[in-house]
Amino acid sequence: MLDQPISQASQSYEGLPVLVVKGEIDLAVAPSLRQGLTELLDAGHSSIVVDLIEASFLDSIALGVLVGALEQCRAAGGDLHLLVTEPRILRVLEITGLLTTFSVHGSRDELSSQDTRDAPADRLREVSPQ
């Protein structure tokens, strides 16, 4: 049986909830991704970690879901952190001009070395692709 592509870690990391996303994240998986993020936002979390370390593919639909969640997080004074190491996904972020818009980290250790509680003031703006 295949692993579920979206799973919420039972424990948070550095106080932030973690949504783990695996495999190919396309328009078939995007609704589950959106649901997972919406549940966390509705629960009052303004900062969320999306772990894409084991994701291998990300299309514009999935990216649109992440952008929507990022806007909501920042509107609430928080941030959406992406853990990404897959070059293909980094390239998608770069092509769409979103690599510097998202808070992108290469590992959880890298994430923990930064202040993850509040979004930088200059990022508290409406998010849109360049």
Partner: protein, 147 residues
Amino acid sequence: MMEPVGEAVREEAAERIEISFPALPDLVVLARFAAATVAARAGFDIEEIEDLRLAVDELFVSLGPMAIDGCMRMVLERSDDTVSIVGSFEGFAPRGFRTEEKGQDETWEKAAELSELLLDSLVDEHGRETRDGPPTAWLRKRRTLAK
């Protein structure tokens, strides 16, 4: 950019494959698989194949929400160094796909802009055709060494 894949390409095609399948999101993987297979047969390297896999996904995203009972149709043509793909939905119904889901419309609006950026970067040419029949999107990608 709006010019569809023409007869000139078709005449040169060494291989032409047509597939259709129900317009279900979890079947888009079939489109990616078909594109990758044809790209490999055209001698694309792994990076180019991965570009085409993403591009064909974006091709169908660019057509908008799918009709619930619709069908995805895909024509792949391979010449010596070029892969051309035409995608369309039969039974296309704008806003007809799971619009009851919260956030669906906003997601598609964001994705359309992102999809255009990705297609611009991933393939040599792409476009949409909406004149006769259901909306159709097409792309063309040449092997790097052939450029």
